[in-house]
Symmetry: C2
Subunit: 270 residues, 2 copies
Amino acid sequence: MSRTLVIKTGGGKAINVDAVVADVAQLWNDGQRMVLVHGGAETTNEVAEALGHPPQFVTSESGYESRRTDRKTLEIFEMVYCGQLNKMWVEKLQTAGVNAVGLSGLDGRIFEGRRKDKLRVRVNGKRLVLRDDWTGTVEKVNTDLLNLLLDAGYLPVLTPPASSDKGEAINVDGDRAAAMLAAAFDAEVLAILSNVPGLMREFPDESTLIPSIPAAKVNDFMEFAQGRMKKKVMGAAEAVEAGVGKVIFGDGRLETPLQSALNGGGTHIE
Amino acid sequence: MSRTLVIKTGGGKAINVDAVVADVAQLWNDGQRMVLVHGGAETTNEVAEALGHPPQFVTSESGYESRRTDRKTLEIFEMVYCGQLNKMWVEKLQTAGVNAVGLSGLDGRIFEGRRKDKLRVRVNGKRLVLRDDWTGTVEKVNTDLLNLLLDAGYLPVLTPPASSDKGEAINVDGDRAAAMLAAAFDAEVLAILSNVPGLMREFPDESTLIPSIPAAKVNDFMEFAQGRMKKKVMGAAEAVEAGVGKVIFGDGRLETPLQSALNGGGTHIE
């Protein structure tokens, strides 16, 4: 049994979904053990607007931005991540000959974590404590269920939300969930595909791409991460610290996004 | 191993979801092997309206009404069935102590069938052939995957769509999918819970409830079925013919909907 490959792909319009599917199908059919995790923030924002419940973002006291997840937002989040996008990935993989099984972190508590019952945030500079909020952090991965599926020939296609320790749905960051997953599997590689070529010294100047980062120094590179890249770098740091062989930030817009990343493209952290 | 119990529950507002969950949890924790299938037509209609793509219904040449499922409708269908509602059932079951796993028929091709690539229908009396339509009928059930989950202690919570033989998502009738599932499992009981007390001789007069139907005579009772009850009776006929011990049409609005049905309430076909 080869070591597991964990792939996290963004869900935005810039991602070349068909190319990611083709790359995944080729590796899978060559016998590579793998798990796919996908996001969906951009589409969730659009659907939330269309349903008259526009997205709100809050900033934690430590400076990270996250989605305000009241109960209605959680429902919209599940519609997009678990319905529209998870089944899109599964359908595309099935038609490409991969026996994919789409699951959220709630199912079988694949991703289990702690709900932040009081969320201390800043909104327009003001400090607030949110109580009706359904967010949290993944602390545990149900590798038993995933290995059961993998051993029987199914490719797991995973998405947030996760489950709290009480079984409640909680919105968790997909990049950090994928990092926890890669750590739990002692994965050979965690490849994170997004709509940028990798980590850049001077975002968004793509000529300043950082091709490689020694694992021990990853925290020193946090200063270059902008916006959503912050949680990817944080996830990468957690993953390599937990023993994952390599984390790659790859360009999901390419014609062969996964192969390019595995063959040296993007930012390699090892 | 006891014989399997298959439960199909509607997704409408009249269904007492928490009571269904409580009944399922009690039976599951008592060791009953079971699979839950849910619907979602009413919510899909509401979301389709809200997203500016209102539902359309067409009538087949044999007189059955079904949802016009163009690609956009399929996406909305997946948002509601696989996202909003499937994860609602899983979350409620998880918080009730049941390790539920929510899957669509597309995942691992749990429900596989034939896509009707030309759909001959009548719309306002006119005959039409629809080609951009994603509907079909379940012909095969992946009991291997479901038994894998059941044997490992997970309760499968299933929903349409199904997979075509090419891996495409197809909208299938949930009642008939549940009937195929019950047949594939050689189930002891298929309980179909909806927002009526069972089959009535004079719909909607609940005092005309038909308490029992001999399995051999079920087709004679088709004349009493109105609207969505038609496919339930058709599914029941298919299920008992395939060897399912008993099909029950139970009232999903009650305080103990499943227990009432199993204890003699509703319409029993055996």
